[in-house]
Amino acid sequence: MASTAAQCQLDSVSGMTLDNILQFPEGHRILSCIQCGVCAGTCPYGDVMEYPPRKIIAMLRAGMVEKVFHSESLLNCVACYACMTKCPRDIRLTDILLPLMKEQALMHLPELPAELQKALQNTLRYGNPMGESSRKRAAWVKNAPVPVPIMNEIRRPVDVLWFVECYTSYYPRGQDTARATARLLHAIGADFAILGNEEKCAGECGRLTWEPGLFETLTDYNMAVFQKYQFNRMVASCPHSYNAFQRRYIPLGFTWPVDPVMAYLAYQIEKLKPLLTRKLNYKVTYHDSCCLGRFNDLYDEPRALLKAIPGVKLVEMVHNRMNSICCGGGGGGMWLDTYFKAKGHERLSERRVKEAVATGADVLAVSCPYEVSRFEDALKVLGFDKKMVVRDVTELLDEALEEQP
């Protein structure tokens, strides 16, 4: 699904609620639904939902939608954009209709799963879902292999503001990605800095996970921080935050060009390629993250980066590119593993890892910070952790850089 400026504006439809949804062109489109059921069929959890997207639209049109709010169906939506990408009527399910439904469900559900509730509360209080101190967000910088300037310390304009995000800042394996990214940015001579402890979650999952109020709190905060500093562009480690800036922040006055790290590096591949001199004899399969792939058409950029590494042999999984299977972390799924398990649902990360192992690859390359922990856990649960390792694309690029400090 191409991301044109016009579509960005459509995404920004603010003030759309379920009550007035038909008043907006994007909402009006639900009337054109032909009930073909492709959405339910392509949904990775479509088989366990009492009300999959097709039924939701039918019930919305029949004025019977209250039932949906009182069911747990929407807890299974991992915001993977599969239904929306394949809808023959271009109905904006993942980014407009389902979030509006989820907001209502949150108000009506008697109890939120504890893990999800904690993640939302933590994000509000500490700016990250894991509930770590906001004052330790930039702690990883101390062990970074290259200097990582922080905006409020350097007090000068920079070319690139690098938005590191939560998992990359706090989660130990995410910090590996942060350090690799820092070294790559340094190697290509980027003039970059981060926000350090001033950064808070961009809120994409807040918006797509039931909580518009939380999202507003985070966007108000982050916009005020961005406006304090001068920078030409933003580069985002987390595809979810890229998604938020690219789509949801624009109507709030976000004017900077923004790229995910994958795309930013891919656009400078000519600069990067001569530096990738260490041969890595890996057979690699790449998992398309939902936000980069299906939602933003960034399928080729991460693959181009992997192909630029000497010795890397790239193989594809059965489901790839637009048909990629979600890792299960989006739309709040990151904090619903216990819930899914209790319901007896297969974890999507496990479904995906089986496909990855079947390719015979020894490295599963990823581009979203959620995926590292999800796939590493899945490999361990299925007993494949000796066969395959999970590496962010930036980690592989970093390993291929000639001089290791």
């Binding site: 949150l106 108000m107 109890e111 939120l112 504890a114 509730q117 939302l120 509360q121 509000l124 209080r125 500490y126 509930g131 770590e132 101190s133 004052r135 039931w210 909580e211 518009p212 109020g213 939380l214 507003e216 709190t217």
Partner: protein, 258 residues
């Protein structure tokens, strides 16, 4: 049934705690405060009772930095009014907090039930609730995990938890003060939009501020406060499993554990 939930904040242990230069208190520079977990449960229990039996819930908090957020959160959760008392600057002792609560409760009008946390990380002795009961001349029950007011509204059946998994059922005349150990259900999620709506449409009252003079000089003085000193470290053993197993047996034997 009119219920008052007493709320206090405690240091947020997510942030690293530092000792102030005088060695007698926590350094307030990096200190963040958060609602005491058991007080949060008390508020939840109050709202659950109101939903079941009708009546009103008043959230009454000792003033502190960021307390307004907590009180608006209580309103969004279902409390009918939010009141703060005490002096944010005073760093109240348990006795002064209890005096402030008691003074405020007298101002609030008729009350049937007062709930608060049985303990707090800053009050492990759990002194506040019984002292409030003493100042108001009401009965007190602590470590409560269940409350069922009787049909007449004159008494309540209360479940208390004891060590070793033992539970006791008590009948208590109302009004009474209960120290809540845990609500029937974990505190619910309050959507941020609801908190924001409460901020716009509702307000926080102030009442019954007990002055420093009223609460008198502190009865207990902090002489010094220090972080625990590590007394030992784990020893990591590495190598061949068979050799390690023998080594572990040897070490445990030397300590008289085998």
């Amino acid at each position: 049934m009119n219920i008052v939930a007493l709320l206090r904040v405690v240091p947020d242990v997510v942030e690293e705690l530092e000792i102030a230069p005088d060695g007698k208190a926590l350094d307030s520079e990096f200190l963040r405060l958060v609602i005491s977990e058991t007080d949060d449960h008390a508020l939840e229990q109050a709202v659950l009772l109101k939903e079941r039996l009708g009546g009103t819930v008043t959230a009454l908090a000792i003033d502190a930095p960021e307390i307004d957020e907590t009180l608006y959160g209580a309103l969004a959760r279902g409390a009918d009014r939010a009141v703060k008392t005490g002096d944010a600057e005073m760093n109240l002792s348990a006795r002064a907090a209890a005096l402030s609560f008691a003074a405020a409760i007298r101002d609030l009008g008729p009350v049937d039930l007062i709930v608060t946390g049985a303990q707090a990380i800053g009050d492990l002795d759990g002194l506040v609730a019984p002292m409030v009961a003493y100042y108001l001349g009401m009965p007190y029950l602590g470590t409560v995990t269940g409350v069922a007011p009787g049909a007449s509204g004159k008494s309540a059946t209360v479940i208390r938890e004891f060590p070793g998994g033992v539970r006791g059922e008590f009948d208590v005349p109302l009004p009474a003060v209960l120290g809540i150990q845990a609500a029937e259900k974990p505190p619910r999620y309050v959507p941020v939009a609801k908190v924001r709506a409460a901020m716009k449409s509702q307000s926080i009252a102030t009442c019954g501020v007990a002055t420093a003079a009223e609460s008198g000089p502190p009865v207990v003085e902090v002489l010094s406060m220090a972080k625990p000193e590590p007394s030992g470290h784990a020893q990591m053993l590495e190598g061949d499993p068979d050799v390690l197993a023998a080594r572990i047996c040897e070490l445990m034997g030397a300590r008289g554990l085998l």
